[in-house]
Every structure is written in structure tokens, then in C-alpha cells.
């Protein structure tokens, strides 16, 4: 699916500063970014450039020091902690580099986690879980625990967990960073399919040009500033 002309994510003049003792570290400085609805955006940059920080701000995991973050009609930077939690449950799906599955839960139970926050009954939750696992091709591994799954399979479970509530935006933090090339390619193909076939908006942080090639647009982040071209 081709990205629509409607911007979904608006980052305007965002600054993020961390304090380390008396020292202030400026991670993002007056950053502006717009991501279109149904766009697959790759965010690249060297370590410490602020990629994950930016992803956290978009996902409502952190708040900017200044500036505003709007996703659709919601001013994310103005929501309270409780409102943010509910907003994340409704609008954001996270895919982590190290999968971050709960080891004591089976694959299907892990996928079910975001659905526990909805009003769905058990039968409906099971139906949604089955659909999500089918979408990532892991129906046959539903009862397996993370320790018995390969890295690629664990990441598929992670993706199923991220899409099970049909979120507005999928945020992927180096989703292939812990996988071999073959598994990585499969995961990238899956993410691409979610974007193209289901119209999901994806923002993916990556170091890997091979991964960013799958995206419809790539932006580069260095020293808290964005550019359209790779940093020299």
C-alpha cells in the first residue's frame, strides 16, 4: 500500500535533554518530523544519535523537554501517565530488538497480553490471538514457550503481540538487530507486508542499510538533528 498524503505523526520543534549529575545532555534539539499514514519510515543514525529516544517520544514512553508530539488528533506530550498508558494500549504496537517476551508465558499468552487491557471476552481474545499468530505464520507454535522458539520465531511472536490490537502505529526498535540475515530478512518481509498489505504505519529504527532498504522512506539522525541524507 502506498502511503497516503495524510500526515499521521507530527513532531514539532522537539527537544529532549537528559541530566547526568550537573551535566545536561541534549539528545534532540528542535527536531521536526512528519510521518504519513501507512508510511514505512526507517530511522537511521549512529549510536547515541537519539533514534531510540525519538521512538520513545512517538510511542509515549517518554515526554519531550520542549516541543510537541501529535499522533493523529492526540497531543501525546500533554497526556497524563494514566492517559498515556491507555493511549499506548489503543494506538501503539512495539517491536523490540530483543523480543522482550515474558518467558513464563506461552507464545499465545504473550500475544494475548495487550488484549487483557481491552473489554474483550476470552473467546474473542483467543480469536484475535489466532489471527495475529496466523498473520506471522506461527499458528503451529502457539503453545510453545519463548525458550523453545528460535530468535526469528520469538520476533514473530513479538510482532504478533504488537499487531494483535490493530494499533495505529507500529514502532520497531532494531527488530532485526539480534537475528541472522535469513531470519532478519523474513522479519523485514513480514513488516513490509504489514505495511503494504494491511496499511500499517511503521517507524523502524535500524543501523542496517539492508533493513532500511525495505522502508518507503529513510531519514537520518545525527546529534539530535534529522537529515534526508546519510551522515558522513
Amino acid at each position: 500500500m502506498i502511503a497516503s498524503s495524510q500526515p499521521l505523526v507530527h513532531i514539532h520543534n522537539v527537544t529532549k535533554t537528559f541530566k547526568r549529575g550537573a551535566e545536561e545532555i541534549h539528545v534532540l534539539s528542535g527536531l521536526d518530523l512528519e510521518v504519513m499514514d501507512a508510511e514505512f519510515l526507517a530511522l537511521m543514525g549512529p549510536s547515541g544519535s537519539g533514534k531510540s529516544t525519538l521512538l520513545n517520544l512517538i510511542g509515549g514512553l517518554d515526554r519531550p523537554t520542549a516541543g510537541n508530539v501529535r499522533i493523529g488528533a492526540d497531543r501525546v506530550d500533554q497526556l497524563s501517565d494514566r492517559q498515556l498508558a491507555a493511549w499506548r494500549a489503543r494506538h501503539i504496537g512495539f517491536v523490540f530488538q530483543f523480543y522482550n517476551l515474558l518467558p513464563a508465558l506461552s507464545a499465545e499468552r504473550n500475544v494475548e497480553l495487550p488484549l487483557l487491557l481491552t473489554g474483550l471476552n476470552q473467546a474473542a481474545r483467543r480469536q484475535h490471538v489466532a489471527t495475529a499468530l496466523e498473520a506471522v505464520g506461527l499458528t503451529h507454535r502457539a503453545k510453545h514457550f519463548p525458550r523453545t522458539l528460535s530468535g526469528g520465531e520469538q520476533q514473530r511472536v513479538g510482532i504478533a503481540r504488537a499487531i494483535v490490537t490493530d494499533p495505529t502505529v507500529l514502532l520497531c526498535d532494531e527488530p532485526t538487530g539480534d537475528l541472522d540475515r535469513k531470519s532478519g530478512d523474513e522479519i523485514l518481509a513480514l513488516l513490509q507486508s504489514l505495511n503494504k498489505d494491511y496499511g500499517k504505519t511503521l517507524i523502524m529504527v535500524t543501523h542496517d542499510p539492508h533493513a532500511s532498504a525495505r522502508a518507503s522512506r529513510t531519514v537520518y539522525l545525527d546529534k539530535g538533528q534529522l537529515s534526508a541524507n546519510p551522515v558522513a
Binding site: F98, A104, L113
Partner: protein, 385 residues
């Protein structure tokens, strides 16, 4: 309910640690239940004491006797409804280790005074008609497999041999039960007239009097009147409520309540540290997982509740299993009837044990739950990654 599998998964994460914590809580609550039963056994007389009964004893000591003639004088005091006396006999059956309390009493007055002892009518009549007759409580009867019709010998180091006989012998004419669970059915009572006739010293003396007052609200006033009646005599009295008397009797071996509280307090403080430490460790190890839960939309409050539920779950499971196991063991029988006339787990101890288990879960889980609630998602995920 839908979050319970998540709570359960948290407990299953480190099975050995969870099992050890469960066991420590299990043992603590078993101990709690046994101490509760022990406390009830040693101070049972206090809770079973009648509110309308007073005990009149020698002012100096319980082992000093009082004249039998006091009975009429006490009876004549305004507000006194009934009077009966008892005397410590200290009889030994075969071996000193076979201890059980035994006392001469006046059957009719005694049975009227203590309605908590239930004796069938036919056995009551048999007792009144048999001079050497004795009634024995169910606990002691079963302990020595005595039955109605048996003749049992007792040896009394206090009173020596009876006149004209080698030993005291009694005919079991009745076996009494208690109206309540805590009623002491370990005692043997025999007739005072037989005792008075056969004893060779201190004739006309009795151990203590039990007095029933018509109006319990006047008990203190009547007690003072009784003591006033015998003031400045060779046998001055001390009159107190039956509960206070029983408490004083129990406290001959120490303040049971304080001892139990001290032991329980020490055990629970230790268990609180163990359970609290387990939960703190568990939360610390799961920092990343808690961060993920928050990232996918679990609110801070929900995370707090989940950690608290986990803590409560193990405390309640361990506590209830400990209390239940102790209840089963205690219900299976009295291990030392010679020392503990009543041995059961009072409902109050069970209820307070259950509440204590819940409180333990909350207190042990509060700090880690608070930490989990305050956890910043970005920090948690960074620590994990």
C-alpha cells in the same frame, strides 16, 4: 480474573524460590496455628469461665484450705445464688505421668453450678446413690479406656491413705461431656462425703468455693462483701472472678499470651523479611518485563496491583495451607492430654491467621509494588536491553 495467569506466571518464573518462600510461610502459619491451640489449651479456663461465677480462696495461697463452714455464711450473703466447694486431691493413677485433675465435690451442688458438664440423668442418679461413685470426663475416660462400672484406684500424696483402706478406690458411675468445644473433660470428680469420712487429716477443710451471683453486674461488690465477711479471721479469703482465677492458674507457668505473641512476632518478622526479599528480587529481575507491560499499555496502578497480587497469592496460599494442615493435625487428636486438657484450634485463631496471611502479602509486596509502579519505561527497557 483475566490477569491471574499473569500473576501465576510471575510465581512460576523461579519455581525453586517460590517453593521455598511458600514453605517458609507454610511453616510459619502452622506454627501460628499450633501456638493458637496451645494458648487456648493453657488459658482455656479463662475463656470458658462463667461471668456470673466467683472463686473464693484462701487469701495467702490457693494451696491453703478454708473451713467447710464458710459455705453457709457465703450462701447467706445478699446476691449469692449458689455455692459449692472443690478440693485439690492430686490423685495419681498408676504412674505420676498419668496426670489428670481429680477433686471431691458435692454432686448436686456441683452439677448445678457447672451446667457446662453434661451428664445423663441415669448417671447423675447413680452418682447420687453411690458413695464411692465418681464421674470422669470423656477425654480421660478415653485416654485410659475407662467405662461405667469400672473401679479405679488412686494414690494421693497429699491426703495419704484413706482410713481403713490401702488406697482410694472409686466406682466410675458416669462419663460427662462438655457443652462447648473448649470445655475441660479431663477431670474426675468424686463425692465429698466419702472423701471427708475417709481422709485422716484436715477434716472439715475444703480447697476453694465457687459462688454464683444472681447479677453479674454486682460481682465486684459481692466479692468485696465475701472478703469482708472473713476479714481478720484465721482464714481470710480472696474472692475474684472465675476468669481471673483461671488466668492466675494458667500463669503459674508464665504469661502464655505474651510468650505466644513474642514467638509469633519473631517468626512473622522473619517471614516478612523473607517474603519481602523474594518479592524485591523478583521485581528487580523482571524490570525489563515490567517495562514491556507498561509499554504495551499496562498502567502504573495495574502493575502495582499485579505485583501486590503476586505477593498476596503466595502469602495466602502458604498461610492457608499452613493453617489447614495444622487444623487437620490438631483435629486428629490431643498429643499430650495429661498436660493439655483441651486441645483445639479456636475459630478466632483461624480467622486471625487468615487475615494475617493477607496482611503479610500486602506488607511484603508493598515496597516492590511501589518500585514497580514508579519504574520509568524507557529506563526499564534500557536496563533490559
Amino acid at each position: 480474573m483475566k490477569f491471574l495467569p499473569l500473576v501465576w506466571a510471575g510465581l512460576k518464573r523461579k519455581k525453586l524460590r517460590t517453593a521455598l518462600t511458600f514453605l517458609s510461610i507454610f511453616i510459619a502459619f502452622m506454627l501460628f496455628a499450633f501456638l493458637g491451640a496451645l494458648k487456648e489449651a493453657l488459658s482455656g479456663g479463662v475463656s470458658m469461665a462463667g461471668l456470673d461465677r466467683l472463686i473464693v480462696r484462701h487469701k495467702v495461697s490457693l494451696i491453703q484450705t478454708l473451713p467447710e463452714s464458710y459455705k453457709g455464711r457465703i450462701q447467706s450473703i445478699n446476691g449469692v445464688e449458689a455455692v459449692c466447694h472443690q478440693t485439690w486431691f492430686g490423685g495419681i493413677y498408676q504412674d505420676p505421668k498419668n496426670f489428670f485433675p481429680n477433686m471431691p465435690v458435692e454432686p448436686a451442688a456441683f452439677l448445678t453450678m457447672f451446667p457446662e458438664f453434661v451428664l445423663p440423668d441415669a448417671q447423675q442418679r447413680a452418682w447420687l446413690g453411690t458413695r464411692t461413685g465418681a464421674i470422669v470426663g470423656r477425654l480421660t475416660a478415653e485416654r485410659f479406656q475407662w467405662k461405667v462400672g469400672d473401679r479405679i484406684p488412686l494414690r494421693s500424696p497429699i491426703w495419704g491413705q484413706p482410713a481403713g483402706q490401702a488406697q482410694w478406690e472409686f466406682d466410675i458411675v458416669g462419663i460427662y461431656d462438655g457443652t462447648k468445644k473448649g470445655t475441660d473433660t479431663s477431670q474426675l470428680f468424686f463425692r465429698y462425703d466419702y472423701f471427708e469420712e475417709a481422709r485422716q487429716r484436715e477434716k472439715g477443710q475444703v480447697g476453694w468455693y465457687t459462688v454464683r451471683v444472681a447479677d453479674p453486674a454486682r460481682a465486684a461488690e459481692i466479692a468485696a462483701t465475701i472478703d469482708g465477711e472473713f476479714a481478720n479471721s484465721p482464714y481470710e479469703t480472696k474472692t475474684e472472678p472465675e476468669g481471673a482465677f483461671a488466668q492466675g492458674f494458667a500463669q503459674q507457668i508464665g504469661d502464655i499470651g505474651s510468650i505466644v505473641m513474642a514467638v509469633v512476632g519473631a517468626v512473622f518478622f522473619t517471614i516478612l523479611l523473607v517474603a519481602g526479599n523474594t518479592m524485591v528480587q523478583s521485581v528487580r529481575e523482571r524490570t525489563e518485563e515490567l517495562g514491556v507491560l507498561k509499554a504495551i499499555g499496562f498502567s502504573n496502578f495495574l502493575v502495582l496491583v499485579l505485583v501486590l497480587l503476586e505477593s498476596c497469592c503466595i502469602a495466602i496460599l502458604g498461610g492457608f495451607c499452613g493453617l489447614g494442615t495444622a487444623w487437620l493435625i490438631i483435629a486428629s487428636g490431643n498429643p499430650i492430654p495429661s498436660l493439655l486438657p483441651v486441645f483445639f484450634l479456636p475459630t478466632g485463631s483461624l480467622v486471625s491467621g487468615g487475615l494475617l496471611a493477607m496482611a503479610l502479602g500486602i506488607v511484603a509486596g508493598l515496597l516492590p509494588a511501589w518500585q514497580a509502579m514508579r519504574l520509568r519505561i524507557a529506563d526499564a527497557l534500557r536496563r533490559g536491553g
